[in-house]
Symmetry: C2
Subunit: 207 residues, 2 copies
């Protein structure tokens, strides 16, 4: 079972993905990890191999992603070379074992892999609330500034997706399931979502 | 729990709604029933009252809807009067008991009712396949004609919805859950979907 998660910033999509990986006992790849691997692949091939050669059995801690993030700029990130490397890595990871992949247009990259593609979204109020809950103590952004930040991040995601896929980000036709998490506690829905995904792994023609 | 189901023709949305009502043990209102009630309300108010005064405990058989359908034309159906009557009836039904309501822009009509709004869609191939499966033996439409029919029905639904709501039909922001049933057996997903809906009935602020 290959699951890709695309999500609006603050919608809880990453948490949902992480929980799905835990529940299903499959690998978890976060966007920064994958982007980081792709970026570094030219520089330290051995490092990449050490990650992708292993058949992953548990999810990677989210902190690995965060330490990698600082190392590259959006300019680099957008380069075609990185995208191609990243695509190859995502395909290799998906070929190796069941997994959850967050972001990076994985739904498009894995379009031949029969993946479950989930889009997670929410209204602005609950996204603001989630961002506040996970913000560091010393971060005191106004609602207006927080909102602007959320929109900016989603614009980047949309542009990145459209640039590389020529599809519109978040269009439901490209997803198996679109979940509005506006009034939802992610922890509560993770098990039911995993159950729903399992029930969807039958095909019409197979019955 | 109020559940509205909007769906592309041939996506299996009606079957999903009917099964959800059965699983959850709540009322089931199909589009023709509601439209029929609205249409008739001027002529036979007692009939309408006899339906809406009762607190329904099980779903109505789908065949009731089909016998009513023939009685009215799209022209009548589109009239504002019918829409207003229908809106009132849908609100009364939703106030009376938990229920599943199929179609009729109920997601918009019940926007103050904290309803779960589901949009069911699928790719054209599986919609064609579903339509073939449920078509009468003597109906021999070509794929091209069947496809044209599916598109025409969805166009009508989209126009009806947009006319009365000023929203775009099928835009995920208006729904709690959008389910792509392209490779899915409806019978298999009904219980998991009902579980997911239950898990979503918590609010962020409530935790």
């Amino acid at each position: 079972m290959i699951i890709t998660i695309s999500r609006e910033f603050g919608s809880g999509g990453r948490e949902l993905g992480k929980r799905l990986a835990e529940i299903l006992g499959i690998a978890y790849y976060d966007q920064e990890i994958i982007a980081g691997i792709a970026q570094r692949s030219g520089l330290a091939e051995e490092y990449v191999n050490s990650i992708i050669e292993k058949r992953p059995v548990t999810y990677y801690p989210i902190t690995i992603g965060q330490t990698l993030t600082a190392a590259f700029t959006p300019q680099l990130d957008f380069s075609l070379k990185a995208y191609i490397e990243q695509s190859n890595i995502i395909k290799e990871l998906a070929s190796k074992s069941d997994c959850v992949i967050i972001g990076r247009g994985a739904d498009y990259i894995l379009r031949e892999y029969n993946s479950f593609n989930i889009f997670v979204y929410a209204d602005m109020d609950s996204r603001l609330q989630r961002c506040r809950q996970r913000a560091p103590e010393n971060e005191q952004l106004s609602d207006a500034r927080m909102k602007a930040r959320i929109k900016a991040i989603d614009n980047d995601r949309g542009r990145y997706y459209q640039f590389f896929t020529n599809r519109k980000w978040g269009e439901k036709e490209n997803y198996t399931l679109c979940i509005n998490t506006s009034k939802t506690v992610i922890k509560d829905i993770a098990i039911p979502v995993s159950g729903l995904l399992k029930s969807m792994s039958h095909t019409l023609s197979g019955k």
